[in-house]
């Protein structure tokens, strides 16, 4: 049972690592890396959903004589999720650069002028 669900286990562990990185890290760049870890964990989850035992590429004439194919839809979903992950991490890093320009520090605890 464990071997079959090993991919889902790694997705869970990756998600937790990413979440812990965001919650515990003080350096903002590492928080951005934590978010990228969470995004890759969810992408991996989507891909692993579509896997069928012994399945081949989901393209009709490219796969060999094996008749089982993996599901193509999660791969399309993952492609969009990767594009979105790229956009958000690029924007996040640019915002972190701006914050470094304004606050002179990368420590997220020192970025707290907005309170109350």
């Amino acid at each position: 049972m464990i071997i079959g669900n090993l991919p889902f286990l790694t997705v869970g562990i990756l998600f937790l690592i990413g979440l812990l990185a965001i919650l515990r890290e003080k350096n903002m760049i590492k928080i951005a890396i934590g978010i990228t870890i969470i995004e890759s964990a969810v992408n991996m989850f989507l891909i692993v959903l579509g896997y069928r035992l012994g399945g081949d590429i989901p393209v009709h004439f490219l796969k060999g004589e094996v008749d089982a194919m993996v599901l193509p839809t999660p791969q399309a979903l993952t492609l969009t999720a990767i594009v979105i992950a790229l956009a958000t991490s690029a924007l996040m890093l640019s915002v972190i650069m701006l914050l470094f320009k304004h606050y002179g520090t990368l420590n997220v605890d020192e970025i707290r002028r907005l309170r109350g």
Binding site: D109, I111, L114, R115
Partner: protein, 113 residues
């Protein structure tokens, strides 16, 4: 006569309310006109009575700043607002902590009840 907003136990009819508003305004205006008529714009009657002292030119000195509005309310609730200040402390990671705790509680409730 005309359709009303029916809400469970009663109804809300704006036109009747407006009619009563008109009647009330009529009476207040009538009451106001029965007062003294000798008020003239721009005379000594316009001076602000600053309890005898001379009125400062800049309006800023005599206008009530927003911080001191409802000072009694905030003074009474000072412990509540100190407690709330602990939550609104501006730390992004604490905000995320509240979100994670909320998800944990909600998932536990939904799954186990």
């Amino acid at each position: 006569m005309w359709p009303k907003v029916v809400s469970g136990f009663g109804y809300w009819d704006i036109y009747v309310w407006l009619i009563f508003l008109a009647i009330a305004c009529f009476f207040t205006m009538w009451l106001r006109n029965t007062g003294r008529q000798d008020y003239k714009e721009g005379t000594y009657q316009d001076e602000i009575y600053f309890s005898g002292n001379d009125v400062p030119e800049d309006g800023e000195d005599i206008s009530v700043p927003a911080d001191s509005a409802y000072w009694g309310f905030t003074k009474f609730f000072r412990p509540y607002y100190d407690f709330m200040a602990l939550f609104h402390n501006g730390l992004a990671q604490d905000y995320l902590g509240y979100f994670v705790v909320f998800i944990a509680i909600l998932t536990a409730l939904i799954v186990f009840i």
